[in-house]
Symmetry: C2
Subunit: 642 residues, 2 copies
Amino acid sequence: MTKHQLLPKLETAYDLHGMSVAQLQQLAAEIRDVLCNLLQERTAHFASNLGVVELALALHSMFDFRHDRLIWDTGHQIYPHKLITGRYHEFQTIRTKGGLMGYPNPQESEYDLFMTGHAGSSIATLSGMRSGDDLLGEEKRRAVAVIGDGAFPSGIVFEALNNISGLKQDLLIVLNDNKMSICPRVGGMASYLDRLRTSPFYSGLKQEVVRILDNVPLLGDPVERFLAQLKEGVKAGLHGGMLFEELGLRYLGPIDGHNIGLLRKYLQMVKDLKGPILLHVVTEKGHGYTPAAEDPVFFHTPPAFTQENGSPVPRKSAAQPAYTNLVSSAIFEAMRKNPRVTVLTAAMCQGNKLERLRDEMPDRFFDTGICESHTVAFAAGQAKVGLRPVVNIYSTFLQRSYDQIFQEVALQNLPVVFTMDRAGLTGPDGPTHHGAFDIAYMRCLPNIVVMAPGDGWDVAPMFEFALRQPGPVSMRYPKANAASLSNIATNGHSFERQPIELGRAEVLRWGPDGVILCLGTLLDECLKAADVLNADGLEIGVINARFAKPIDREIVERAARECGFIVTVEEGCLMGGFGSAVLESANEMGLETSRIKRLGIPDQFIEHGERAELLADLGLNAEGIAAACRELAEQGEGVVSV
Amino acid sequence: MTKHQLLPKLETAYDLHGMSVAQLQQLAAEIRDVLCNLLQERTAHFASNLGVVELALALHSMFDFRHDRLIWDTGHQIYPHKLITGRYHEFQTIRTKGGLMGYPNPQESEYDLFMTGHAGSSIATLSGMRSGDDLLGEEKRRAVAVIGDGAFPSGIVFEALNNISGLKQDLLIVLNDNKMSICPRVGGMASYLDRLRTSPFYSGLKQEVVRILDNVPLLGDPVERFLAQLKEGVKAGLHGGMLFEELGLRYLGPIDGHNIGLLRKYLQMVKDLKGPILLHVVTEKGHGYTPAAEDPVFFHTPPAFTQENGSPVPRKSAAQPAYTNLVSSAIFEAMRKNPRVTVLTAAMCQGNKLERLRDEMPDRFFDTGICESHTVAFAAGQAKVGLRPVVNIYSTFLQRSYDQIFQEVALQNLPVVFTMDRAGLTGPDGPTHHGAFDIAYMRCLPNIVVMAPGDGWDVAPMFEFALRQPGPVSMRYPKANAASLSNIATNGHSFERQPIELGRAEVLRWGPDGVILCLGTLLDECLKAADVLNADGLEIGVINARFAKPIDREIVERAARECGFIVTVEEGCLMGGFGSAVLESANEMGLETSRIKRLGIPDQFIEHGERAELLADLGLNAEGIAAACRELAEQGEGVVSV
């Protein structure tokens, strides 16, 4: 790290205040160097961070965010901010367990106010802080949110803009426009921003207006034609962010977000203006590293890569297919067979591996942008008229549409299939991205079938089953490579896989000493645990639950009556989750439950780290599951021997 | 009903197609007569229905919504639509159990496509239907959504507008602008609509534009001043819905929504236009009934009233205070004592009885409009900087902000207090409004304390307790009058009320034969049940659980060990609810649970009707609770005698 001259010496970001533009430019180069080096180590958010280097430097050089308020929306573009706010020396730990988080983290630094991973809420939280500072007499604290154009169409952004305008709050919103969501952005706002971007802010404007005004026929035409022409003329000629101005914001821009001097000039101009300001800054995702600038989708969160002859070469990936790929293939096959099947994503085309579906069946592929509420209601509309929409949204982001799942889907009992990716512990992204709560929040809603495949084999038939149901179905799966039971479970055990039937679990092995009842893809760990216990002389059954709702009551009853104990396993929250569903059904059948033990995610937010590390910490791997079984077996012997 | 000439004879709304404007006006008068008569019978949505009479008639006279698609957003303005789509003769049953629903209901009529009670999702669902009709070759079906200006700032509206513009769908959105949310509307969009309304659509425009253009200094001034002036000028002069046009919608209006002829002319003009159209219709909430037009807030859902000397006189209301009032008073007192306490509502100032707080402490009262997502994130911002925000939102509407409860509040562990009104069965509003799921969806999130007062006495100390907590707290209560235990429970039992302590239940009576462990305000029914059972010789305890999270494990353990059975009671869903929390804690303590029975809302959507009727149907009144206890007591004897 000795090659960095300035970065290691920064104590706080306030040190930037005395620096020249040339020094800030050098810092920008050093930050880019750190980012490029990191990416050779591990997967991380990359292109978006390269895009905000100058913006982060300009902001910190003009404000003091130990006192002023700064929120980075969505949070994954926080790396330059971290590097200049006292975290350079530990930066190499980012996204590793115990190291820096890849998102803002108030526990790391006073410079990070909110842990943000879901998009769009920055303006609302900033507005709340502004309101609090005003009420508490802290008017001197300035308030800034940086939000990307990808997050901008989120409903909460509009709700917040509508409200800050009504409150006339002194806020600076920096719209970081890099023309991208994670995938290319979509919709009316995107087109609008495109028009703003391509317009000459200063130079061309005057002549343009004059030209148009010359051509407006002020007399003689029908009123409506006049009106239409006038509007078109003004739309073409006026590049001043009328949409935002109409909502009550003062609009400035667009300006070049890689020109530190210009950024500073504009920040100086707006920092003490009254009322809400929108500063439109144009950046390039991946700026300063050509491969990333040329392919910002791939370089949003690229796999770790090595440099070969100046080009990045991704490291080898795992041999097993990821669940994401299996689900994507299942959707693809269903769409090929059935013209009524559509697929919807909320800007996660890449994360959900839907590129092939988009390219081959574009009329049935819908990327709504980061608009999960709309996505689900839109899917309900499609289902209402006879389509079979598949909503492919990460477990944690689907929380954005909870009310639409309730009203538009479950209440109407419409056949929408939810394929919830990233269900469980997502790994290095940490608590904003872990999909811990979906079993609990889904199963309490009437009419919904709640499922999880036990392994890669389950995926395709379970998805086909979902599409045959008359009402809503959810299917969750983790960010992980897919084990296949037929490989794992042949260790002395042979079995034929069972077809998917509503509310039926699949018994892989029966065990008089105890059974492990697993919902979801920790099933391979359960089988390994059973093997270990088997070697110890315990005959432990393993059941692929498949359904959290409806629960297979027959199996629960049989296991409770015949087996020494039941251990439930899930990669989801214990409060109200699958294990609780098992307890509920046992209780309703009047069964004894004290020999049931539930394993899952405890009632706390789980840190970031590799998924396997986190699962091990929570006792959700073969060792932990075996230990839990052993403890129950020993207690059982104790009971018998008394 | 003999005084109605036309309305009783309508077989389908298609009959309107042949009618003259005069006949449609007569129908409008007959519809208003029905509405005014109904309001003398019972509480119902009133002013908003009076406002859309002509609009409903005009729409049905120009479209055939057996084939074309029509969604009434929010749904409570569905009455005129119901009266002209074959439901005149059963209309008097509306909002009674087994009768018509007060919202659209697909089970009642092919004219009702979605059951809508939550605001703003109409455009998204309509867009989904349009997309489906297009894919399935049904281009000939036209698609119309009617959405009020109150619902318009909801985030999902913006998400949908952004998407329909990108998809270039043929959709007609009728913006029914009555200048009101349920309470007066707020925010930047409201101001914008006000400007549109007060502008001369046709006549004044030309002169205005000329005047402005004359005054624009085209030469000599600094560029920025020029720009600012130009913008202001265009803003003042151009009244053509630029904001919507910029988003890619074609804007028309504003037009008078009570002029059937004009409405029909405009609908004729736009019905076959390509692309998304926004037709801005101005109506008066309460139109045609002077008291309602003068006080549309009161007449949104007025109590049943009688006519006296031409003025409406509300019927007597109940003697006991409603929980809503008690909570409002508790917030008021807290705000008086502590300048850091703020209160937030999402357009429910009236429903939450917050008028006095708004009027006396306007700087700490925040009505965000129907923007629940923003509201919660905004509250998090306030809490972050040291305020103590109270988010006062109905249980079912809070679902809109589930992701913000997760990310902005629970994950940051910020002290936001959620006072959830309408938790439980709300009565005549039915399934869109019942607050059935909040215990389940709240308690699975880490860091949140989940509470419910057992009676009116609990409210104030529980709220004060909530404000003292260092993290998030939720407190749910029903739409009901508040019983007071000190009155009820003195029937041979005396007790001193216990202060609120974290995770501590309040034992009202202990019962060796069994205990009823109740979360929330069905506690009075539990006490009545215990009295009845006592008369039968059973000594049944009653416990005011107060906390669903953390659960009072000590009490659960003691009850499980000492008492014949435990019955849990809650006015919430059984799946994942309070009873499940009790099961979980008993299970974690290794206790036997087969003598625990859970009473609550079963896994289905509950119809509309009076709350007491619905509770009785679900066995959630004294009789039902006593019956459940009796059954357990008998089973227990059976077990002993074997």
